[in-house]
Symmetry: C2
Subunit: 421 residues, 2 copies
């Protein structure tokens, strides 16, 4: 579909974030910008929140004869010198074309593709820092799992990033444990990308041009609208000097032999799967802790997937597809992984086994980190309560009621019986 060599410019890729998942995704795309030199500039800028880091003595990069190892160094300097993120992804060699950059502004300068991979608490501030400084026709991909719940409703991170920067933002999510992807252990992921088509030279990503050629209602808006929101960012068309960001070309940016990518249109579905599975993983952990076996755990996952679908269709109806949850890595596969050994699963299981409140297990086990499942469960419940829809989501509601001590894990089958069977 792509006519090679026909474009005057190449895409420039920037990764915003450099934790273990951010660095891993930077590695993936940097391998691909080299491999697909017809589409992408080789160099990948990666924004690093600068900090002074001392290389641990156990690290393979530790060298007692080098100044790098004997006194604290800026993390960007270590990454660019050692080709390793010694703090957040130790032991994984990084491609030479990744450039750790302490300035977020210079990271995004001239980039046509912005990949967001940050902890939740840094998103707003980071967007603030680059607002008006990104190319107006840049396109984003959010790798951030979770949803933002406020009094106004639920917003996806892809939506809020897109809204804040006035650009289109897709999403990447899947059954991906960062450290395993970094070690090139095989996995799959899902990339959702479906900007409105605004240029006859750049048909819709799937190849079939849409009817309207200059619409300003993005997927962001149609879903936001559903939830009573009004913002309608005006999207700027990608100039025709650049290769189109078709599904085919987006796949070339993310797909590796060890990281299989499937492209879909459903940004909301991809984002929701990554957020809501954490709620389900708590229930899976509880029934496992009760010793109810794999049957019960699989039943929780199945019911959980069905409630994800219902939630998506009810509150993000325009774009959400059942298959995103039932057939893609971001749905069923991520659910399976999270209910097999993720931290939400493990802490919930331990809370039953040790007969302790989950908050206590969280403190003991997570070394100051927080469970996403518990906060998402409460946020989702508050949202459902406001909408008067609690009863239609018996599993999500059961998780909330168990967390607040109103019900016990043993009650799950009863709580689900009337609604799901």
């Amino acid at each position: 579909m792509t006519s090679l060599g026909a474009y005057a410019k190449k895409h420039r890729v920037a990764v915003i974030g450099s934790g273990n998942w951010g660095t891993t995704i930077a590695k993936v795309v940097a391998e691909n910008t080299v491999e697909h030199a017809d589409l992408f500039e080789s160099d990948v800028q990666m924004w690093v929140f600068e900090e002074q880091v001392t290389i641990p003595k156990g690290s393979s990069s530790y060298d007692p004869g080098s100044e790098l190892s004997t006194k604290p160094q800026p993390l960007t300097h270590l990454i660019n010198t050692l080709r390793e993120n010694v703090k957040y992804l130790p032991g994984v060699p990084l491609p030479k074309n990744i450039h750790a950059n302490p300035s977020i502004e210079s990271t995004v300068k001239d980039a046509t593709i912005l990949i967001f991979n940050l902890p939740h608490q840094f998103i707003a501030k980071s967007c603030e820092g680059i607002k008006g400084k990104v190319l107006p026709f840049a396109r984003g991909v959010s790798c951030i799992k979770g949803v933002e719940v406020s009094d106004q409703g639920i917003e996806l991170f892809s939506e809020s990033i897109g809204r804040k920067l006035g650009i289109y933002c897709g999403a990447l999510s899947g059954a991906n444990i960062a450290s395993e992807v970094a070690l090139e252990k095989w996995s799959e992921t899902t990339v959702a990308y479906d900007p409105p088509s605004m240029d006859s030279r750049h048909p819709s990503p799937k190849g079939s041009p849409r009817q309207s050629i200059d619409i300003n209602v993005s997927d962001i808006d149609s879903t936001a609208l559903d939830r009573g929101e009004k913002s309608k960012p005006q999207l700027t068309p990608l100039p025709s000097e650049y290769p189109p960001l078709s599904h085919e070309n987006m796949k070339k940016l993310f797909h590796r032999p060890y990281f299989h990518v499937r492209l879909v249109d459903d940004v909301a579905g991809v984002s929701l799967g990554g957020a809501l599975k954490n709620v389900v993983a708590l229930a899976a952990g509880w029934v496992d802790g009760l010793g109810w076996g794999d049957n019960a755990k699989a039943a929780v996952m199945r019911v959980g997937i069905m409630e994800e679908v219902k939630f998506g269709k009810m509150f993000f109806s325009e774009s959400v597809k059942t298959q995103t949850f039932t057939e893609e890595s971001c749905g069923v596969a991520d659910m399976i992984t999270s209910c097999s050994g993720g931290r939400n699963f493990r802490c919930a299981k331990l809370s039953v086994v040790k007969k302790k409140p989950i908050e206590e297990v969280e403190r003991e086990e997570l070394n100051g980190q927080k469970l996403q499942g518990t906060s998402t469960a409460h946020e989702v419940n508050a949202f459902l309560k406001r909408k008067g829809r609690e009863a239609e989501f018996p599993l999500f509601t059961a998780v909330h009621r168990i967390l607040i001590g109103e019900k016990r894990p043993e009650d799950i089958p009863d709580l689900l019986e009337s609604k799901t069977s």
Copy 2:
């Protein structure tokens, strides 16, 4: 929907088979025939392949003062006296209304509902023994997992039972480990039941009457036809003295607080899920054995579910629905359970860990029992080869090629890449 008390007769239920799953299902339905006395006769006949059994000394039913414990007894006598299947489901108290019966003929006499739960090798002979001796309007439900592959093609057990006895036969399958269901640990299952409607008094099970009121092409035939078969059993309508076997009433026969049932129409889908997941479980075991982690395992399951859907739609096209595989217990949940700890998964994993052929692991681990996944993989492959469709099922084909030593588990990502991504 059921008008209580309006029917002169009640349904009589027989269970054919008394292994651990057969006895467990007999327990489930015997609890329900008592609870729904308006629809069902309380007594449940259970056919037991008679054998002389000595109660093991470790059994809680062992009583040195009783003749039952000191010399071998007919298994039916032990079951009916002790209310326990000491050989195949020890330690689980059985309802008093189960009657173990050594005569298959007398077991099925006057039964309107026949539940088949036998090892594969007994099905043909058992059907032979009762052919012409079941009520012509009896309805069957097969709980037997697997498919029969012969030179003529693939046949479901529900189909072959229906064909042999000239009755309609549905299917029950789900993420159900017999011993866990027997102990009343919560799980879900799927019952597929969709006989052609033949009587205005008895509309189609879902409540919406079909157009034709006396068709003789059952689901069995439409699918068999697809595979070049010709048999068209003439179905006899259920007499109007009996309560209709609606989805609502079938659910009352199987649903328990610890065993949640969902009814669907798709008999082929329900049956195929239970057979094909064993092939996928081998691949899941291999990647787990390679240490590729939960991401890779979840990817195998996801691809496996998608190949099940494709297989069903390609070869059983009239009746198979995607959702049966992606949304029901018999599909996604059974896949998860089988790829978490089933014997196919375990032996495949051990074969990688111990670097031994899977046949050797099978001999060492299974005490003479056989893996279903390996034989199903070969049978399915032979079928696909005949149809010229191997390349369209890269995972099923990969499993076969790895089993015969043509490829290695490490090749799975490559073998899947071109087709699934």
